[in-house]
Symmetry: C2
Amino acid sequence: MSIETVSKNKSFGGVQGVYKHRSSATGTDMTFAVYVPEHAPGAKLPVLWYLSGLTCTHANVMEKGEYRRACAERGVIFVAPDTSPRGDDVPDDEGYDFGKGAGFYVDATQEPWAKHFRMRSYIEQELPELIAAQFPADMARQGITGHSMGGHGALTIALRNPGRFKSTSAFAPIVSPLNCPWGEKALGGYIGADRSAWREYDACALIEDGAHLPDLLVDQGTADNFLDEQLKTHLLDEACRQADMPATIRMQEGYDHSYFFISTFMAEHIAWHAERL
Amino acid sequence: MSIETVSKNKSFGGVQGVYKHRSSATGTDMTFAVYVPEHAPGAKLPVLWYLSGLTCTHANVMEKGEYRRACAERGVIFVAPDTSPRGDDVPDDEGYDFGKGAGFYVDATQEPWAKHFRMRSYIEQELPELIAAQFPADMARQGITGHSMGGHGALTIALRNPGRFKSTSAFAPIVSPLNCPWGEKALGGYIGADRSAWREYDACALIEDGAHLPDLLVDQGTADNFLDEQLKTHLLDEACRQADMPATIRMQEGYDHSYFFISTFMAEHIAWHAERL
């Protein structure tokens, strides 16, 4: 389990690195970013996972997310994976919302996607082992967050792995792929026509089916162009109320879907995670 | 003097805008970014100018600079212009360090550059008038900073316009175009072979020739690949000492030339400016 260092830059006293490795889950090279704050020799730091949205790589949040100051202050490692397998032999779709850059954090079962599009296994199993082995990470203290498709990833991975994450949050998440066009296209393509198989990739369905988190923080902008058709934050709110699951879902007046929104609330999310880690 | 709004995004309570206008100085369309914090109706806010480095547009610092939190907290407008004229009829050079993206904040006198490469007039005269007219800006309270070529721009513009800026700082500035390859190429090309004419575009020469600032903050990374050949921070230190000009020049251990460095110290620079504005 070796990794190649693509770049390292000192920032806010710590090191922002970009790394590449051969993934057995996806059968491709995978790139990811890790920020490690300055720390005492031998110290192990808690880990916050950040899953990115459609069209993104590891780089978007690394460049625009403004997480390093808060992570340095709180002593939190920040891990930002890619959103899909990449490479010339990886199948793709013409749309921005399916194929490369749009892995939806699922293990695909349908051809031609099943071979490489195994982002669930990659994020749930392979990459955590690699982070534990290669970085000063205390894997008993993990939190997870993400944006849009990555918010969907954060919610569903946390819900399916009870106890693994001490904290879960999301920025403008897709809360129910069963109930939006992005989800219809992606899960129909990756998982197939049997919609019952989609439920483990649907945060609202997982909660309905009994999965539970101790608490949850969600920020959603009211000026987000995708709110009404794709994100439907109210469905998560309803699912949490029905299941009596604590959730802090904040509608943020005038904010859109961009990193101008994410960066505004990033430090609050990191503080919220750090208090629980 | 009209401007076109390219985009507006709410961020940290204020508005990050991108605007376009027809510039009489450069004879081209010019794009710039302005962040206006939330403020009371009718209030006028101080202005911090940020001049960018080689290859950059208005967008680099807007995306990677991490200035909005500090500007929102301190109530400071942040203006980020482009680094050169743009357009199909604007001459260019094959190098990244001359022509488009490399205006060096000079008014060119040599052909074919003299017609459009008038970034000195644009930054010193035209854009301030436009900012004063179109934004809630208190032009009696201006500060200026910049990175690399933009640090050179900030220093030379402040030195040539005594009293206009209440505060001046720079990140990894080019301190003496007379004494580095970037300067030789750019000033030789834009201004011509008479090196005495370069002195008004050289911070160290301006200080030697009697220009003076009440104080100055400079951060420079020790791991900056351009330090020894291009930036030569020690020349500025020596010029300030010779002229008995107060200057806080901080060599930051292990930091490079990137926005990972700039963003680390951005909030300190904004605080430093805000205290003087």
